[in-house]
Symmetry: C2
Subunit: 244 residues, 2 copies
C-alpha cells in the first residue's frame, strides 16, 4: 500500500510487472529525498550510492535521470546530480499547476467513482481520523496520501494521475520538511470531512473546488513554515544549546 505512489493508475488488466532494479531504485531514492534522508542541496555521488544500494552505476543513473525529470534532482553536465532545494519560489510555482489538476480530478472523481470506491475512501478517511485523534502523525500522512491516490484512481484518467503524482512528490517533500502545526492539522481534517462529503454527494463542482482549496490552505501553512526556516542564521543550534 505504501511506496508505489507513482502508479496508482495501473490498469488492473495490463499488469506491467516492474523492471526490477531500475524502478525499485527510483522509489527508494524518491522516498529518501521526499522524506528528507537525502537533504536538499546534497550532492549525489554515484559511486557512494552504488555501494549503498549494491547496484551498478547503469541502473542508478537511470533512476537519477528519471527523478531529474520529476524535479527532485538537478543534473548539471560533468558536475553531477544534487537534490534540489525546496524553496518557497518552487512551491509557488508548483501549486497553481497542481490546483488546476486537482480541480479536474475532483470533478471527474465525483462523476465517475464507483460506489465501492467511495466506500473505500470513506473507510480510509475514518482510519485517518482515528490516527488524527491519536496524533499518529506518520500513519496520518500515509492514509492522507492513500486517500488522495484513491480519488485520483476514481477520476479514471491515468494521464491525469501520472501527471499529478509527478508533481505531488515535490509538494510532499515540503510537507515532510515543514512541521505540521496543531492548528493547521485540525483545519486539514475539517477540509477532509468536506471533501468526503462532496464525494459522497457526487457534487462535482463542490469537490472540484474543495481539492484546490485544500491545497491552497496547505500552501499558506507551508509559506509560514518555510519563511520561518529561511532565516535560521539567528540561532541555528543555539536554541537547543541555550537550554543547558
Amino acid at each position: 500500500m505504501d511506496g508505489n505512489h507513482q502508479s496508482p493508475h495501473q490498469p488492473p488488466g495490463e499488469a506491467i510487472e516492474r523492471r526490477s532494479l531500475g524502478d525499485a531504485l527510483v522509489e527508494r531514492l524518491r522516498t529518501l529525498i521526499v522524506e528528507g534522508a537525502l537533504k536538499p542541496g546534497e550532492k549525489l555521488n554515484e559511486r557512494v550510492l552504488c555501494e549503498r544500494f549494491g547496484v551498478s552505476r547503469t541502473p542508478l543513473r537511470e533512476a537519477i535521470s528519471l527523478l531529474a525529470t520529476e524535479g527532485l534532482i538537478a543534473m548539471r553536465p560533468h558536475k553531477g546530480a544534487s537534490v534540489t532545494a525546496v524553496t518557497l519560489a518552487e512551491l509557488e510555482e508548483v501549486f497553481p499547476v497542481m490546483q488546476a489538476l486537482e480541480r479536474l480530478t475532483g470533478e471527474r472523481a465525483a462523476a465517475l467513482a464507483t460506489a465501492a470506491e467511495i466506500e473505500g475512501i470513506a473507510t480510509l478517511h475514518d482510519r485517518m481520523i482515528a490516527c488524527y485523534r491519536r496524533r499518529e502523525r506518520m500513519a496520518y500522512f500515509h492514509l492522507n496520501e492513500a486517500i488522495h491516490d484513491a480519488i485520483l484512481v476514481a477520476a479514471r484518467n491515468p494521464t491525469l494521475a501520472a501527471t499529478t503524482q509527478s508533481l505531488a512528490s515535490r509538494i510532499r517533500r515540503a510537507r515532510f520538511q515543514a512541521n505540521l502545526t496543531e492548528a493547521r492539522w485540525a483545519e486539514a481534517v475539517a477540509e477532509h470531512e468536506a471533501i468526503l462529503a462532496a464525494l459522497q454527494a457526487r457534487d462535482g463542482a463542490g469537490l472540484g473546488a474543495l481539492l484546490p482549496d485544500h491545497l491552497a490552505a496547505k500552501l499558506i501553512a507551508l509559506r509560514a513554515a518555510l519563511a520561518a526556516d529561511a532565516q535560521p542564521e539567528t540561532a541555528p543550534a543555539d536554541v537547543a544549546g541555550d537550554g543547558h
Copy 2:
C-alpha cells in the same frame, strides 16, 4: 527555433548546457515519433537504433526511458520498447488534462506577459497567417507551435511549461497523423485571431477559456479523422485504385 520544443521555459540565467548525447537523442527520437517516421506499434530494437544514430546503448536507453515517461514509448520488461499507438481513447484521456493546464496558462499569460512578448507573439501570428494564405502547411505548423510555446513562456511558470510540453508531444503526434481539413484549418485560424485579441486585451478569463476551446475544437476534428482511419478494412488502398 524549431527542435527544442521541450524547454521553452529555460530560465535565461541558469543556462543549463545540454548533456550532449543523451538529450540530443531524446529530441531526435521524439521528432521521429511525433512526425511519424517511427510508426505506432513499431518495435524499437536497441542495436538497430544504436547503429543508426552512431551511439552506444547506454545513452540510447536513457533516451528511451525518458520518452517512456512522456508516453510516446511503452516499455515491457525483457520485451523491449515500442512506439505507443495513437488511439482515440488516449487522446480523450490527454485532452482534459491539457485543457486544465491551458486554462491556467491563458489566465497567467494574459496577466504576466510583457509588452514585448505580446508583440512577439503578434509577429509570429502574422507570419503564421501568411503561411495559411499560402497554404504552407509545415511552416504553419511550426509557427503554430512557436506561438503556443511563446504563450507558455509568458505564463511565467517553468513547471507549467514542462508539464504542458510533455503532454503536447502526444497531441502533436495525432495532428501529424490526421490530416488537417481545409474547413478545420480556417476555423483554427479564426480561433487564433481570437486568442491573440484576448492576449492583447490582457483578458485573462477570455484567454483562459479560448485556449481550452481551441483544444476542444481540435479534438473534435481529430475524432473524425481518427475514426476514419480506424476502419480502413473496407478499402485500404482500393479507394485510390477505384479512380483508375
